[in-house]
């Protein structure tokens, strides 16, 4: 019973945080461009509208199951990321999983996407997926290297243990292992589809990219999972580098601070080309990651 209520609460929290954060993002973006922008609830309205639209087209069963796979991936990711530390609530099934499982779950989304879009046969969708997979080659390696660094530093794969190790500001991963944070930050922005690396959806460039064939309810499902997934990733980084949170307000505060950092980065930088993005990932974050591995392995006192 507790598990069911807890899981539902986690899903609800991540959904609400998702649309409020994105609503804020759109408003901030508007202010930077010297306009008023939509209300903070706009993403919720958009999402609800899509859920209540008709869905008349079909491209076979995979077109329908693809979004469901992505949605299931988002739900499980949310449930395996502990939202709070030292609490019975908002834990989901996180005690049964660890960081390595979460890494696997993060790839479910792109996979489902590729399946669904592939069956629609729309050239723009296929183009978007190709771009996405190309970018994935660039971003996965430094991202996982950064996570590996964290696991190496704390010598555990359990997110709970990593959170527990960071009691107090001086022990935050951000302070004790800033290089790993830098290694993760840029691939993290990319995995949130933030601006310099938003080559997948690429507004006005490849139409809606992978989503080009989706309208109506399936698009609503995709929007929902996108918002929930972003929150899951934000919370994961908060857990790993900012010491987790003991209650929901602290969680929102920390996740929001991180979100602000990534939004500001994506607001200032225009979109890179796909090959530029991959080049960049292979050079800067990966180079930094290799350097950090050398430092952590050969100079253990450095991170201790």
């Amino acid at each position: 019973m507790h598990a069911v209520v807890d899981s539902l609460a986690m899903i609800a929290v991540s959904y609400v945080m998702g649309f409020l954060f994105y609503g804020f993002y759109r408003q901030l973006n508007a202010r930077v461009q010297r306009r008023w922008g939509p209300s903070i609830w706009q993403n919720f309205f958009d999402n609800m509208k899509f859920f209540f639209k008709s869905e008349t087209l079909t491209h076979g069963p995979m077109f329908f199951f693809g979004p469901m796979i992505i949605m299931a991936g988002a739900f499980t990711t949310v449930l395996f990321v502990p939202f709070l530390k030292d609490s019975d609530w908002l834990q989901g099934f996180s005690q049964y999983g660890n960081l390595i499982l979460i890494i696997y779950l993060l790839v479910v989304g792109p996979l489902g996407n590729a399946l669904a879009v592939g069956s629609s046969g729309n050239p723009f969708g296929v183009m978007g997926v190709t771009r996405g997979l190309t970018r994935l080659m660039g971003l996965e390696v430094p991202f996982f290297l950064g996570l590996a660094l964290v696991m190496l530093q704390h010598e555990t794969t359990s997110v709970h243990a990593i959170m527990a190790a960071q009691d107090g500001l001086a022990n935050w991963g951000l302070v004790t292992n800033p290089i790993a944070f830098c290694v993760i930050l840029l691939p993290f922005i990319a995995s949130q589809n933030g601006s310099p690396f938003d080559v997948v959806g690429a507004p006005v460039e490849v139409y809606a990219g992978p989503r080009v064939e989706f309208g109506g309810r399936l698009l609503g499902v995709l929007m929902t999972q996108n918002m929930m997934m972003s929150i899951a990733k934000l919370v994961l980084v908060v857990d790993l580098f900012m010491g987790g949170a003991t209650n929901i307000l602290v969680l929102i505060g920390k996740a929001f601070a991180l979100f602000l950092l990534t939004t500001v980065v994506s607001m200032v930088f225009p979109r890179l080309k796909t090959e530029q993005a991959v080049d960049f990932f292979w050079k800067v974050p990966l180079g930094l990651g290799v350097l950090a591995v050398i430092l952590t392995v050969w100079l253990p006192s450095w991170s201790a």
């Binding site: 306009r35 922008g37 609830w41 706009q42 639209k53 869905e55 008349t56 309208g215 698009l219």
Partner: protein
Amino acid sequence: MYHKTQCEGFQCEQAMLEVPDGVEAVREGVLDRLIAWMRQKSLFVLAYGTGCGAIEMRPLMTSRFDAERFGVIGAATPRQADVLIISGYLALKTLRRVIRSYEQMQEPKYVIALGSCTINGGMYWDSYNTVKQVDRYIPVDIYINGCMPRPEALIEGFVALQARIKNGEKGGYHHYRENIDWYKANQRKVLGDQVPPAYTYDWYHAGDVA
């Protein structure tokens, strides 16, 4: 809204366009009204730049007039759009594409027609290859007159459309579905055998698809 039943002929049609229909509401319950309220807050626009009026869409969407504060933003594809904007004169060649795009949109969908060209032909009224009343080929929900209408007028049109959605009035897509044969006959009259193939609309006939 224009109706086929009473008469044919241009004068008669004009007269009927001017007689306002009684408001036909389709949404009644509390939930329906809530949905309608959220729906009017979020209109994704497929701007079909057919004529010169399209030039006014750019300032509308960007910082100067900022349509996003009304929840109006551009959609990349017809599948994701709620509102189709016909911005100006419609050549026969374009009409085909517009019909295709309109039929791809998911319901509820609305059409805003921009400029006098869409209302009565405007300054192209005697042109050999533009249609004069867009309403005969696809159902128009809101007309915005002017040549070309300013972005302020467009915003006013959007606000009027939002009010109609909020009140749960019957959208043009209902009329399209109910009078599909009439619309198709009109389209066939101007397009000949260039009319879009039957599979683009035959699902309208397949019972009441929600």
